[in-house]
């Protein structure tokens, strides 16, 4: 994909501490609002990125303050891409249980990944499992509040 398609991008290294990704996530959501992405897309991105950040910090880096999480966000006219890489040893995606199995409904394992897959257009892990790319294809356009023309 041509690098010049991106309207906006950010690049952050964050510590492995609960809540450390809050500011960069808000920065991303603010950018989507400025681009008039519809509310459901914004909610979807917020949910998926929140889940991926928690996974990287809590499960990937195990809240180790010596480790960081690298987060890259890019926004194009009709596409968003977020890449989140931790410094952990990775995991086997195939071993993650199905959280909707009635026998496992009360177990938390796999729920975050399931939500990421449900709310994003594409979720791709590297072979090791310590880097994930989330993509969201824009679903529609919100009406601009002032000065905009009706689509």
């Amino acid at each position: 994909m041509a690098e010049d398609r991106w309207i906006w991008s950010s690049d952050h290294l964050i510590p492995s501490r609960a809540g450390a990704g809050r500011r960069l996530l808000q920065e991303l959501l603010d950018q989507l609002k400025r681009q008039h992405w519809v509310q459901h897309d914004i909610f979807s991105v917020q949910l998926a990125v929140e889940e991926a950040l928690v996974n990287a910090i809590k499960h990937g880096n195990r809240l180790d303050h010596a480790k960081q999480v690298h987060v890259t966000c890019r926004v194009a006219a009709d596409l968003l891409r977020v890449e989140i890489a931790d410094q952990g040893g990775g995991f086997d995606l195939r071993a993650v249980p199905n959280p909707t199995d009635p026998q496992r409904l009360e177990s938390p394992r796999g729920r975050g990944i399931m939500l990421m897959r449900s709310f994003m257009s594409r979720v791709q892990y590297n072979d090791l499992g310590n880097c994930v790319v989330l993509e969201k294809v824009r679903g529609g356009h919100d009406q601009p509040r002032q000065g905009g023309s009706t689509p």
Binding site: A18, G19, L47, E50, V54, L105, P108
Partner: protein
């Protein structure tokens, strides 16, 4: 009644109605306190009928779902009843995708929920 930082707790008859002070319930230092305050309603105050009103919540993550599941288990262990209400459509979608709408008794609004106890 104990003071709560994360919850607003009111009694409507026998039902303990809980609203949330945080519009976003996510995995950070506050969610541990959020969960503890909910559990206190059951473990310490022995509330038998609990209604969680989500009208002030515009976002929650899977961390919150985990706490709600634990709360549900505690309420059932005390032979009580837990219901949820006023969940906006986007958040209800989270419950539906994770099939937790089958675990929790979710009502449209508070009056419906109170009438169903």
């Amino acid at each position: 009644m104990a003071g709560y930082r994360r919850l607003q707790v009111n009694d409507v008859g026998e039902v303990c109605v809980v609203r949330f002070r945080d519009p976003k319930i996510i995995e950070d230092i506050n969610i541990q306190e959020w969960g503890q305050e909910l559990f206190q309603l059951v473990d310490v105050e022995n509330r038998q009928k609990v209604l969680l009103n989500f009208s002030a919540v515009d976002f929650l993550s899977s961390a919150a779902l985990g706490k709600l599941i634990t709360l549900d288990k505690k309420v059932k262990a005390h032979s009580g009843t837990l219901k949820l209400c006023n969940i906006r459509p986007e958040i209800y979608e989270v419950f539906a995708i994770t099939k937790l709408n089958r675990l929790f008794d979710i009502k449209e609004d508070e009056s419906d929920a109170l009438a169903s106890f």
